[in-house]
Each structure stands twice: as C-alpha cells, then as structure tokens.
C-alpha cells in the first residue's frame, strides 16, 4: 500500500468513525434517541464498508483498462 492510499484509508476511517462512534454522544435525550443512534451506527457501518470494499478492490490492480486508440489520444491530451 502506498502512502497515498494509506492516508486515504485513515481519512475515511476517521470520518465514518466520527459519525458512527462519536455521533451517538451528541444525540439529544428524547425517546427516539435509541432509534437515531441505531440509524447513525448502521449508516456509518454500511457506508464505510462499501467505500472500503471499493478502494481495496482497486489497491493492487491485476490488469489495466483496455482503451480504444481514440480514447488513448483523448485521455493523453486532455487529462494529462
């Protein structure tokens, strides 16, 4: 894992960690608090997991994209 990707993982982990772990402390103490806390934690877990799978799948690609020669020309001159 490159340093770049490691930093990304840290950033996103903290982001969803804040929502999922720190968020419940800030929920007001009304009767629906249990519901809101469950929703926060579940959202954090689901979204973080989904993002994590997406980035792990691309961390070490075994093969690259196959581009048409037009696309290669376009990408070379417009993106780079």
């Amino acid at each position: 894992m490159t340093a770049h990707s490691f930093a990304l993982v840290i950033v996103f982990t903290t982001f969803w960690g804040l929502i999922g772990i720190a968020g419940p402390w800030f929920v007001p103490k009304d009767p629906t608090a249990g519901l809101i806390i469950t929703m926060l934690v579940a959202t954090a877990v689901c979204c973080y997991l989904f993002w994590l799978i997406a980035i792990l799948a691309q961390l070490n690609p075994l093969f690259g994209p196959q581009l048409k020669n037009e696309t290669i020309w376009y990408v070379r001159f417009l993106w780079e």
Partner: protein, 854 residues
C-alpha cells in the same frame, strides 16, 4: 414512544364495569385507544348476545343517516365534514336523536313522494297541451290530406273527418289521441292496420321537443297520433292496442270550443303546478340544508355508539348480573392510563360505584405491540407483511430502516437516478399535510405511504452512485484518475528500463484499435481513486471484466456480514428469553459454521486484494478454485494463496465438521438430560430444576408454554416439570430440520446475495444503452437542426429514464431487497408467529362518507 427493538410487555387485565357506567367507561377507553378486548362470548352467536337490540337500533340510525346523505348528495348540497370528532352520545341523548332522525326521515320521504307526484302530473298536462296543439293542425291539414287507406265507397270525396257527414252516415265516429314513443310508431301503425283492417285512420306527427317520460325519467322524442275509427268494437281493439304499446291517451275534444276551453284550463293548471313544484323543491332544499349541518357529527356519534355496543357484546355478565366483566390486553406502560379512563367514565355517568380493574396472570401469548411514528411505520409494515413478530422477540424493522435502503441502493447505484428519486420523495414528505395527497388512493397512496422509505432509498442511491461512479451512466472525474496513459509510451521511460516492457509509441497506437494499460509498468497506475471506482473504467472496453469481479466479491462480503448479523440478533433473543443453553448449543455452532467457511472466504478475498498485485498477477490464484479445493483435497497441490494455507484450511474444516453434530444433537440431548432431572449427578431433586420453560420454538412440541416476565425460575420449574410431556422425538426432528436448513441455507443464501451484483449490472447496462441509443445519437448530429432535434430526444430520454430506469428498475430492486431481508436475513433469527395488537380505538373507524357510499 416505546423501543423499536422489542415489542412492549403486555398484561391481561380484568375490568369490572358496573352496569350503569359500562357505556361511559367504554366511551372513554375508545377515545384513548389503549386496550384490546378479548371476546368472552365466542360460542354465542351474534343474535343471542346481550346488546343485540342496541346494535340493531344503531344500524337503523345508520340507515336513516345513509338515506339522508344520499338525498343531500342528490340535491348537490355541500356536506361539511368536521375536523374534530364528537364523543359518543350519552344514553339520554340517544332516544332523542333517534326520534329526531326518524321524524326527519318520514318528512323527507313524504315531501319527496309529493314532489314526484306533482312532477308526474305536470308532465302529463304538458303532454296533453302538446297533443291538443298538434292534433289541431291535423284536423286542418287533413282537408288536403290524401288518406292512405281504402276509402269507403259510400263516402263522397269530402274529407273523411268532416263531422257532420259522419253523423249523417249514422256511424259513431270515435277518436283516440295521445302520444307514443318515436321508436314504436311504425310497429303501432302496422298493428293497427292488421287488426282493424282499414277501419281506422291514423295520423301522426313528430313533436319537436323531447319530453321527459314520467315513469322512467328519460328524455325522449314523442309522436302525437290521432286515430279515428267507426264502431264500438274497433274502438275497443284500438284502445287495447294503445295500451299494449304504452301510449299515453288523452281525451279528444269533439268541438273547437271544447278544445279551447280545455286548453285554457290546462294552461292555468300548469302554471299553478309550476309554482307548487317550486315551492316544494325550495322547502325540500331547506330541510336538507338544515340536516346537512349536523349529519356528519351524528354519523360519527352513531358509529362510535355501535362500536361501543360491539365491545360490550364481548363482555360476560357477572354472577350477580349487575356487573360486566371484560378481559383486555393492556400494555404495561398504559396501565395507569387505563385506570384513569375507568375513573373518568365512572365519573361521567355519575354512578356511585366506580368501575375498577385488576391484572391477572396468564399463560397465553399476548399480542405484539410496537409503537411506530410516521417515519418508522413504513419499515414496520414491510416486516409485518412477512409476519408479525412473536411476543417480545427482536424486531428486525429497527435495523432494516438502514439496511433495506442500503441494499436497494447497492442494486440501484446511480447518482442521477437516485437524486431524482430523492427529490420526488422529498416533495411528498414536505407536502405530507396536504389533504389531497394524504387521502390519495391506490398507486399514489402506496407511494405516499412509502415516502420515507423512498427518501432513504434515494439518499443511499446517491451515495452508492458516487462510489460506483455512475451518473446517468457517465462517470465523473473529481479527483483525477489513478491511471496514467502517457506512462505507457516509451518516451516516458529511460531507455534502460524499456527492455522488458511492451510500450507504445504513436504508430503502435494508430495501428491497433485497442490497447491495454499495464499496471506493472512504473507510473501507469498511480494509486487508487479516493472515492469509488476510477473514472477511466467508464472509457474502457474491458470495463465489465473489472466491475464484475469487484461487484461479485462485494455482494458476497455484504451478504455474509448481513447473515452473521442475523445470527447475532438471535443471540439477543436467547438472552432475553433466558435460554442460555441455546447460545452455546445453537448460536455458537451456527456462527462457527458460517464464519469458518464463509468468513474464511472473505479473508481470502481481502488477502488477495492486498497481497497480489500486477507483478504477481500471473500466479494469482482464483479464489473460487481455492475455495472449492478446500473441500476437495486435490492430489496436485496448487500454489495456494499463502504459505501454510493447507494447515489453516484443514483446521477450519475440522472446526466446521465438529460444529455440525453439535448443531444437530446438542440441544435435544441437553433438554433430555435436563428432563431426566440431571440423573447423572446421582441426586434427583424433585422439582428443583432450573429449567426455564419454553419459547415459541417448542410450543407445538411441549403443548404448553409460558412466557412470564419477572417470575423466578424456581416456582416455574417446580410446576412445569411435573405436568408437561417431553417428546424427545419431536424435539430432535425439529432441531435436525432446523440444522439442515441452516447449513444448506448458508451456501444457497450466500449465492443468493449475488443478486446485488446482477441487478446493479442490469441497471448500469440499461442506463448505458439508453444513453447510447438516445443522447449520444442526438448529440452527435453535426448539422444546425441538431439543436432542435435535441429537444425531443431529451424529452424521450427523460420519459424513458423515469419509466424504465426509475419505476421498473426501482420496483425490481425494491422487490429483491425485500426478498433478501425476508428470507436470507430473517430466517437466521426471526420467528414471526405473533398477532398484532389491535386496540379498541375510535381513531380506527373511517370518517369519510365516500367509504360509506362505496
């Protein structure tokens, strides 16, 4: 609001309603909607119950009110429906109301009848006037009229209708005149000709205006006819034929003065009738308007009264016949409210003895109550559609508030479509108090009831669309792609490194139609895209190869985590029902089975993602083959993922193999051992067993059940162990079936989660095809009219997006997400064999007149 995690604890209460206060107490209970009544008179038919007379009276009142409403609607008077519903009427008012309503009904019916009679009369008079007017022209006209029938030779050529000549002949000339339907004229004429053989002369003319038929009320065209005949017998025949054809006959005046007199008389009578009719209609309208003011509240009151009497019919009479006993299910949190409602009711009826209640212990399963608000109601309904939760078991709806929209979004994953769905749902949520929207029926009603579900689904779809990098089938490049094309050119590398790599230059690129980037070339792959799938994959021709691998692995990972979560929720259930042995003998083997096999699969997937890269891609083993080889023990040892893989796999397989018999036999054997009083200890302490008797699983087996909260295990153990039968065979069979289902289900359910991949692929491809077939064709037109062409193309694109991609794909993904929850997730822990708590509440009666008329 109670917790959504479990249903609320309930207790059975007995209400002692004194005869004077019963009605008021029930009215107070109905307003609050706290308790559910149990029917104590189940074997009594509805005609033999105590309050049958009162119910009949209510139904009579309802009938009168329905008639009133019908008349009011017929007269097109607006019927105001009040906002607040009045309480049920006290018994003293009921008689009064009944009298009033009956009097009103009688009056209405009389006035309506009179009105009908008057109108019929009026129509007849109008017909008579027309007839007189038209036949007058007959008589004049017939002077020149060529009769179509044979002339009698004895007559001279004068007009046949010359009165004096007829009388000279000594024959009695009769006339029959009247009106007949336009359609029947020809048949009538033909019949007359056939029957009377030419002894009659018929003349008829059409009336210009259509008149209303007094009997049927239709507006049709009439013909005025005049038949002249000789002789009595012909006269009878003619009259009979006229009757047969439903003609309206009116007396024909013999002289012109008579005719004039009659016409004048008629016109005055018609004028009078018009005035009387107008006055009657005004009076009727007045009566209806006055009734319309109070009809709504009366209808509500009558409905409430009827509901109260239905509930009273369910109570049984006390021995002393002075007190009604009712058994109700009441949530423990509402016991205070129940007491207060009884006190209020007693106070209102002014009785000296108040009604009271006390709770009684029971072995029956109470109904399930889960309090929801407008947000959680939709999700709870989805779970309840599969099965209402058993009493006090874990409620999956709490978690499906997030997991259901999430799994939907994994299958729907498009930023643009998700945003449109989110906006649609937001519109409904912001306008949820709009009366037309909240009362909509059928399809729009379904969407409205699910507005919060749609809102969350749209929101999560936006997120998964971001991760899939799919917005109306196009990717967005927010952070810069991780793939660098220039690095594939030989010019980017020092000549020393170029040796082993297949690099490009301009001629290579121009020659070959497709070229593949090689991540092992330094600089080509610069790191993963920070948020989701790299946008370069959208431009690649081998996009699906990469995406399929990614999505399949993602589906399997999500599925296994979802199912593990289900098994863990089962542990909570076992803890709550105090069956610790279930945790060790059922849940732990289940978890071990699932995790040793499929948890290891997840480990292999992640290991391969982390460890294998482009350099080692040639030797990267296929996960599927490795997984299959784990069970097959092939003779040719493949390289494997990591060192020591064989040993690890053998260990996991051993653990799994040991977990299976524990799952099959552990629980039945343990229960058998308990039942025999721990005889292996040598000391049998009769009755002093810590057996916690049973939950829903063993209901059918043991034949008795008790789920009592708060009672110590000791006394139950004493009571239960002696009196119930222990059917080892049935327990064993149930557990074997459950275990087989679980083990086979693990494999099939994991594969079932692959629908997450399948549907997201279908959605992406449909979206791509729509773009390629419509927008790309429209955008590629180079001429100037291309701009104008783009307008209908965009309209078609929008319409097809909404109908195919949003509605059809949305419904499809919704359905599959529901299936994943109902089957794959819930069969790990959910029993769902309960009944829903249905309180006696006036709020549940329908208040709309449209329902009455339906």
């Amino acid at each position: 609001m109670g917790s959504l995690f479990r249903s609320e604890p309930m207790c059975l209460a007995q209400l002692f309603l004194q005869s004077g206060t019963a009605y008021e107490c029930l009215s107070a209970l109905g307003e609050k909607g706290l308790v559910q009544f149990r029917d104590l008179n189940q074997n009594v038919s509805s005609f033999q119950r105590k309050f049958v007379g009162e119910v009949k009276r209510c139904e009579e009142l309802e009938r009168i009110l329905a008639y009133l409403v019908q008349e009011i609607h017929r007269a097109d008077i607006p019927l105001p429906e009040g906002e607040t519903s009045p309480p049920a009427p006290p018994l003293k008012q009921v008689l009064e109301m009944q009298e009033q309503l009956q009097k009103l009904e009688v009056e209405l019916r009389e006035v309506t009848r009179n009105k009908e009679k008057l109108r019929k009369n009026l129509l007849e008079l109008i017909e008579y006037t027309h007839m007189l007017r038209v036949t007058k022209t007959f008589v004049r006209r017939n002077v020149e009229f060529e009769p179509t029938y044979e002339e009698f030779p004895a007559l001279d050529s004068d007009s046949l209708l010359d009165y004096s000549s007829m009388q000279r002949l000594g024959a009695k000339l009769g006339f029959v005149s009247g009106l007949i339907h336009q359609g029947k004229v020809e048949a009538f004429e033909r019949m007359l000709w056939r029957v009377c053989k030419g002894y009659t002369i018929v003349t008829y003319a059409e009336l210009d205006e259509s008149l209303e038929d007094p009997e049927t009320g239709e507006v049709i065209k009439w013909h005025v006819f005049l038949i002249s005949f000789w002789g009595e017998q012909i006269g009878h025949k003619v009259k009979k034929i006229c009757d047969c054809y439903h003609c309206h006959i009116y007396p024909y005046p013999s002289t012109a003065e008579e005719r004039r007199e009659i016409q004048e008389g008629l016109s005055t009578r018609i004028q009078d009738l018009y005035t009387v009719l107008h006055k009657t209609e005004d009076y009727l309208r007045q009566v209806l308007c006055k009734a319309a003011e109070s009809v709504y509240s009366r209808a509500v009151q009558v409905k409430k009264m009827k509901a109260i009497y239905h509930m009273l019919n369910m109570c049984s009479l006390d021995v002393t016949n002075k007190c009604l006993i009712a058994e109700v299910w009441c949530p423990e949190a509402d016991l205070q409210g129940l007491r207060r409602a009884l006190e209020d009711g007693s106070r209102e009826s002014g009785a000296t003895i108040t009604s009271f209640m006390n709770t009684i212990p029971t072995t029956e399963t109470p109904p399930t109550l889960i309090r929801t608000n407008k947000f959680t109601e939709g999700f709870q309904n989805i779970v309840d559609a599969y099965g209402v939760g058993s009493y006090r078991e874990v409620n999956p709806a709490l978690f499906s508030i997030i997991t259901f929209p999430f799994l939907f979004a994994v299958m729907f994953g498009d930023f643009g479509h998700g945003f449109v769905m989110f906006l649609f749902a937001l519109l409904m949520v912001l306008n949820e108090n709009h009366p037309r929207l909240s009362q909509s029926q059928e399809i729009m009603g379904m969407f409205f009831n699910g507005r919060y579900i749609l809102l969350l689904m749209g929101l999560f779809s936006v997120y998964t669309g971001l991760i899939y990098n799919d917005c109306f089938s196009k990717s967005v490049n927010l952070f810069g792609s991780g793939w660098n094309v220039s690095a594939m050119y030989s010019a980017s590398h020092a000549p020393a490194e170029r040796g082993k790599m297949a690099l490009w230059n301009d001629s290579v690129v121009r020659r070959s139609r497709v070229l593949q980037l090689d991540p092992s070339v330094p600089g080509v792959f610069q790191g993963p895209y920070p948020l989701g799938i790299d946008p370069i994959w959208n431009l690649a021709t081998n996009r699906l190869t990469f995406l399929n691998s990614f999505k399949m692995k993602m589906s399997v990972i999500l599925g296994i985590i979802h199912m593990t979560f289900g098994v863990v929720l089962g542990i909570f259930n076992h803890l709550h029902f105090r069956k610790k042995f279930n945790i060790y003998l059922v849940s732990v083997p289940e978890l071990l089975f699932l995790l040793c096999m499929f948890g290891y699969l997840i480990f292999m997937i992640i290991y391969k993602w982390l460890v294998y890269s482009a350099e080692t891609s040639r030797v990267a083993p296929s996960i599927l083959i490795e997984f299959i080889n784990m069970f097959l023990f092939p003779t040719t040892a493949t390289s494997g993922l990591y060192a020591g893989q064989e040993h690890v796999q053998r260990l996991l397989l051993a653990v799994t193999a040991m977990a299976v018999p524990v799952l099959f036999l552990g629980k039945p054997l343990f229960l058998l051992w308990l039942h025999n009083g721990r005889s292996c200890f040598g000391v049998s302490r009769s009755g002093y067993t810590l057996v916690r008797k049973d939950s829903e699983e063993e209901v059918s087996l043991m034949g008795s059940q008790d789920i009592e909260e708060g009672s110590t295990p000791l006394e139950d153990g004493c009571r239960e162990v002696t009196c119930e039968e222990f059917n080892f065979g049935e327990i064993l069979m149930t557990q074997v079936i459950h275990s087989i289902e679980y083990c086979l289900g693990c494999i099939s359910n994991t594969a079932s989660y692959l629908r997450l991949w399948a549907l997201s692929l279908a959605h992406a491809q449909l979206s791509d095809v729509l773009w390629a077939m419509l927008m790309r064709v429209g955008l590629r037109v180079d001429k100037t009219y291309g701009v104008l062409l783009l307008l209908p193309v965009m309209a078609l694109f929008a319409v097809l997006t909404i109908f195919i991609l949003l509605v059809m794909e949305g419904l499809s993904a919704f359905l599959h997400a529901i299936r994943l929850h109902w089957v794959e997730f819930q069969n790990k822990f959910y029993v769902g064999a309960g009944t829903k708590f249905v309180p006696f509440s006036f709020r549940r009666l329908s208040w709309k007149f449209s329902d009455d008329r339906a």
